[in-house]
């Protein structure tokens, strides 16, 4: 899978590359409008992370160009502008997702994973994780072919873990994933424990491997 990161803040781009790069993903960077245009003309990507404020031009123009060329690359807008108009405009122009800065890299990884998955499997959107199978269209999870009943939040958590395999996830990142942008309005994120505990218990009941590890002081990790 190839990911293009169009971001003028090189330090941030490098962080994204570090976090996203693994056996599956290969990341490339473009730090200005011209460089980005050259890349999208020359290559196809599975996912493009697009910053809207670029030296030399507007990120939305790149999006328009992609659509004009009828490219199938998935696009996630990552913008510091945090302007609702930009979000609406970007999604109207055909972006697949929008992520406002600052974000957790784990959130970005989960979004990228989810986008690539959606692009890849149009009809039969099921992933198999050892004995676990997730049917995204039906939002149904089963272990050893036995249905696993999860609450919406547990389901979201499971997907978040799957999208961030072998990564340590902080409690704050998990809370932000579950309650959106508003997690930072509250001082305590203890509810995350409860959801993770329930998810672990339900998986264990179905005899699924104990992949979710608690990392002392920081959070959790799906180890595989």
């Amino acid at each position: 899978m190839k990911i293009l990161i169009i971001e003028d803040e090189q330090e941030l781009a490098q962080d994204m590359v570090k976090y996203l790069t693994n056996e599956q993903y290969l990341c490339e960077c473009a730090s200005d409008f011209k460089g980005a245009m050259e890349k999208i003309h020359g290559y196809d990507y599975d996912c493009i992370l697009l910053d809207l404020m670029l030296p030399g031009g507007d990120g939305l123009t790149i999006l328009e160009e992609l659509k004009r060329q009828n490219k199938q690359d998935g696009v996630i807008i990552i913008s510091a502008k945090n302007a609702i108009e930009d979000k609406v405009k970007g999604l109207k122009l055909g972006a697949d997702d929008y992520l406002a800065k600052p974000f957790h890299l784990s959130e970005l990884a989960a979004r990228v994973e989810s986008l690539i998955r959606r692009k890849q499997f149009d009809s039969n959107n099921v992933i198999i994780q050892n004995e676990l199978s997730i049917d995204f269209n039906a939002k149904a999870v089963s272990v050893h072919d036995q249905a696993l009943s999860l609450t919406k939040k547990e389901y979201d958590l499971l997907l978040f873990f799957i999208g961030n395999k072998n990564r340590v996830l902080s409690k704050g990142a998990l809370a932000e994933h579950l309650s959106g942008d508003f997690a930072d309005m509250f001082d305590s994120h203890d509810f995350v424990y409860a959801h993770v505990k329930n998810l672990k218990r339900k998986l264990k009941e179905k005899d699924y491997g104990d992949y979710i590890k608690t990392i002392y002081g920081t959070g959790y990790k799906w180890e595989q």
């Binding site: 330090e11 309650s179 942008d181 001082d187 002081g217």
Partner: protein, 429 residues
């Protein structure tokens, strides 16, 4: 408070009163002087005429007595009597006050007399001529009355002139005043002041224009400073967040370091929240978020409750929502979402464990009530950063944003503390 133009009017009226009052005795003295000197002259003429005739006719003593008698009968105050002494004296003028037989109603009258020594047939006679003069107190009364009438006319004139001057000359001043009254720094970009041909007003307007232009530009700078500052802070905050995410991936983190890393998360997310809120405030102030649509507050509230479910459960808070009908407002969806989230998260944060939150709607007013211990400081509550000091998560801007949003739509947000409950009500009327 007196109006500007009434001040000189009072002074002018007072001055006119003083001057006119002083003028009364002066007039009286002058008139009296003219009167008496004119009468004295008249008496003298009559006397000289009479003297000449008497001396030229060679009257006998008996004839003179009879003349005195007849003349005295015909014209009062006139007499010609034989001088008792031989003493020669000059013509003398005298004044007498006595009752007038023809004018009894008037009491005593004033007479101006002239006495002269005349020699007829070698015999000295005293010739007296008297004329009635107006008494000075009567003159005084008449002058005073006339002066008073003129004073009244003067005052009426002053008032009318004053009004006319106020209406015409001061018009630009009052226009400037009303322009200033309706001027709002946060809304208006410039001010239009009327042209005036009066130098002082023109200078005043120019100075005001200058002052306001400076204020507006300072205000704009301050606003754009907030927006620019929070914008500039976004990148470092984003970097901090991503570095933190990378840092916790490290394999060899000791529990001690891990503890520290964990404690960085809360201030970092507070920093991020403050920055987000500053940006929202700056944008609302800069009249962004101008898109409007029909929004159902009830719907937004219900989805916020779902969103905050975990936090409600965590603190074992009971939330009762008595909204039944849709509450439709025409506003920006992001701002309404922000308003609801801030109100609700505020209530959740400040309710003690096991407390109660009530949401209700009545008379176009949304009420969010939560149990609490003591009243908050009403005067500072909605100010920026006024409550942030103790609270570890508060951005100190939540209520300021609520106020800014309600101001934008001319709504009202009010805080009360009643029977151990904090009560925030937003009136959409």
């Amino acid at each position: 408070m007196t109006r500007l133009l009434n001040k000189p009017l009072k002074a002018f009226a007072l001055y006119a009163l003083v001057i006119l009052t002083i003028s009364i005795p002066i007039y009286v003295l002058v008139i009296d002087y003219i009167w008496t000197s004119e009468l004295d002259e008249n008496n003298w003429l009559t006397l000289e005429h009479t003297k000449q005739r008497l001396q030229s006719k060679q009257f006998t003593q008996a004839e003179i007595e009879s003349i005195n008698h007849i003349w005295g009968e015909l014209q009062p105050g006139v007499s010609i009597v034989k001088a008792t002494t031989k003493v020669v004296f000059q013509d003398s003028v005298y004044e007498a006050i006595r009752p007038n037989e023809f004018d009894l109603d008037d009491g005593e009258d004033r007479f101006r007399g002239l006495k002269s020594l005349i020699e007829i047939n070698g015999e000295p006679y005293v010739l007296t001529i008297e004329t009635n003069v107006e008494e000075s107190d009567e003159t005084f009364a008449a002058v005073a009355a006339i002066t008073f009438v003129f004073f009244i006319i003067l005052i009426i004139g002053f008032i009318l002139l004053n009004r006319k001057i106020a209406a015409k000359t001061w018009q630009p001043f009052y226009q400037t005043l009303s322009s200033l009254k309706s001027f709002e720094l946060s809304i208006d970009k410039s001010i239009q002041l009327p042209e005036s041909d009066i130098q002082e007003f023109q200078e005043l307007n120019q100075s005001l224009q200058q002052l306001i232009t400076n204020s507006v530009s300072t205000f704009q700078q301050q606003k754009s400073f907030t927006e620019n500052a929070s914008h500039e802070l976004q990148t470092p905050i984003a970097l901090l967040k991503s570095k933190m995410d990378l840092l916790i991936q490290q394999k060899s983190i000791s529990p001690a370091i891990s503890e520290i890393l964990n404690s960085i998360e809360a201030p970092l997310s507070r920093l991020s929240r403050i920055n987000k809120n500053l940006m929202v405030l700056a944008k609302v102030e800069n009249h962004q978020y101008s898109d409007k649509e029909q929004i159902d507050i009830k719907e937004y509230l219900e989805s916020a409750v779902t969103l905050f479910e975990d936090y409600l459960d965590e603190k074992q808070l009971k939330l009762s929502n008595s909204l039944e009908q849709s509450i439709i407002v025409n506003a920006n969806s992001f701002l309404i979402e922000t308003l609801i989230h801030n109100l609700l998260s505020n209530a959740i944060r400040h309710t003690l464990k096991g407390g109660q939150i009530t949401v209700s709607y009545q008379d176009q007013t949304l009420q969010i009530i939560n149990s609490g211990k003591e009243s908050l400081d009403k005067s500072k509550l909605f100010e920026r950063f006024s409550t942030a000091s103790k609270d570890k998560v508060s951005s100190g801007l939540g209520l300021a944003i609520i106020q800014e949003i309600t101001n934008k739509y001319n709504w009202q947000v009010v805080y009360h503390f009643e029977n151990g409950n904090h009560l925030f009500s937003v009136s959409f009327a």
